[in-house]
């Protein structure tokens, strides 16, 4: 059994003068306080990487900064799926009896710690070094190719995708830590400057500074027990050139494992935390998971299905698109919000009741998928 016992996220946006280790330290200490755990109780540590501080041993760097001596520590690198894979790995370490409290932490000064050109260039490197990167492709270009294909196959429109950006912005407005809170409309998204067709500026998540941390434990700690009930991963390809023809295949494979190990079905879920690097990412996940018909994710958002008072509230902190995206901490912020919602601690963002939730992230270009089911058991 593994439980999410401590969570913390900083505000996302600009944290000038603070490096990745500073930001991760803040989130880690806050997560420990949230769990009510002394730091020496942490016997496992999975750290993210930082593009602003490339290091071979960030796990050990963080252990030293926190003055802990865990029995296991390492740096995980699975792009945007790093936090999700880290949480699943923490569960495996606990199930194996190797650890009892595993700290999963990510954070960096991706916005203020480097130029925007450097950030875009580093991220483009997930592409193929011979057959993709030299052509001038970037992360938005890789996702734009998938987005164009998605629109072609489903008949959805760019305005449909824009609905998802509008929804994330509306949710972010209720969270004081969000980077982007000014309301936007579908017309604003459609009129924003083109980045790589069909993606426009407001279809893309921002680059941010920030950090988040999650503690996974062998037993529940507080009043509410949030159990990691099921987990799944799928790694179908690295490069968009070799992506399966079924755009949702990786998500379907990972989710099927997660629901099977949880002994639950997608229809049991009452809350969603889905990776939303670009509007098509979110649309493809929603549809691959069966939460909207093919091509209908935007329409379902417009109809309120994913709003706070809808059937399936989604990314109530605003997601990557509006809470912000500092790399590994980006998806961990989704998890923090899910746990707070399931505990009933989300204040004015609180949903009526959410005993079961599904979280999903991808890394690369729909390359690595990790998903898990959370269940409130007490």
């Amino acid at each position: 059994m593994a439980y999410l016992t401590g969570v913390a996220v900083t505000a996302f946006g600009k944290h000038p003068g603070r490096g990745p280790v500073d930001l991760m330290e803040e989130a880690a200490l806050s997560a420990l306080a949230d769990a009510g755990l002394p730091r020496e109780a942490v016997d496992g540590l999975v750290s993210g990487y930082a593009t602003t501080y490339p290091h071979l041993m960030m796990g050990t760097v963080m252990a030293e900064r926190l003055a802990i001596r865990p029995r296991h520590a390492h740096q995980a690198q699975v792009g945007g799926a790093t936090g999700a894979v880290g949480i699943i790995l923490a569960r495996h370490l606990i199930a194996a009896g190797a650890c009892r409290h595993v700290l999963v932490v990510g954070g960096e000064n991706r916005l203020t710690g480097q130029s925007r050109d450097d950030a875009v260039k580093t991220l483009a490197g997930v592409g193929h070094p011979i057959h993709e990167v030299p052509l001038g492709a970037s992360i938005p270009a890789y996702y734009a190719l998938v987005a164009a294909r998605y629109l072609h196959e489903t008949g959805a429109s760019e305005a449909d995708l824009a609905e998802l950006a509008v929804l994330m912005r509306r949710h972010a407005a209720a969270h004081p830590g969000a980077q982007l809170a000014k309301p936007i409309t579908v017309a604003d998204v459609m009129a924003s400057k083109p980045i790589a067709t069909p993606l426009k500026f407001l279809d893309c998540c921002p680059i941010s500074d920030g950090a988040a941390a999650v503690i996974v434990s062998a037993e529940p700690m507080g009043a509410a027990a949030i159990r990691l009930a099921g987990w799944g991963e799928a790694h179908t390809h690295q490069h968009v050139s070799e992506m399966p023809d079924d755009l949702g295949l990786g998500a379907k494979l990972a989710a099927a494992q997660a629901f099977e190990t949880a002994g639950r079905s997608p229809a049991d879920m009452r809350l969603l935390g889905l990776y939303d690097s670009f509007t098509p990412t979110l649309a493809i996940f929603i549809e691959a998971l069966g939460y909207a018909q093919l091509g209908q994710a935007g329409a379902a958002a417009r109809d309120g299905r994913f709003s706070r008072d809808g059937a399936l509230p989604l990314n109530l902190h605003g997601g990557l698109m509006s809470y912000g995206h500092p790399g590994v901490a980006g998806f961990l912020a989704h998890v923090v919000e899910m746990v707070r919602q399931m505990r009933g601690e989300a204040g004015e963002r609180q949903v009526a009741d959410a005993p079961l939730a599904y979280c999903h992230a991808d890394g690369g270009v729909f390359s690595s998928h990790a998903g898990f089911v959370l269940e409130r058991t007490a």
Partner: protein
């Protein structure tokens, strides 16, 4: 001649672009290097308005397409504006080393005018 090099499996006939030691379809280590004919169909296409490197920036943007070659592999190419998914194209590697996809038939017009 397209200049696009593929590996093609002697055992099952599968072809692919990214170099490997064995066939990704059947695992056979027996394959040959072949040059793609260059014919293909646009699987997806985008116009990039913001390049990841300033030296790659082109005023008005540049096209990138994923082309499904007739031999099977999907490969990334540069394109001119105006291509759409499903269009038939001809791919050839240019002097800068980049494969470029043009609408099928138009490469003959270029050759005629040049």
């Amino acid at each position: 001649m397209s200049g696009v090099m593929l590996q093609s499996c002697a055992a099952c006939g599968h072809s692919w672009q990214f170099r490997r030691a064995t066939c990704p379809a059947c695992g056979s280590p027996s394959f040959g290097e072949v040059e793609a004919g260059g014919g293909g169909t646009v699987w997806s296409v985008t116009t990039v308005l913001r390049a990841p490197l300033p030296e790659l920036d082109v005023p008005g943007g540049f096209g990138i397409a994923l082309v499904k070659l007739d031999e099977g592999p999907r490969i990334m190419c540069r394109t001119a504006a105006g291509l759409a998914i499903g269009d038939r194209v001809q791919v050839a590697v240019e002097d800068d080393g980049m494969p470029r996809a043009v609408r099928a038939g138009s490469e003959l017009e270029d050759a005629g005018s040049g």
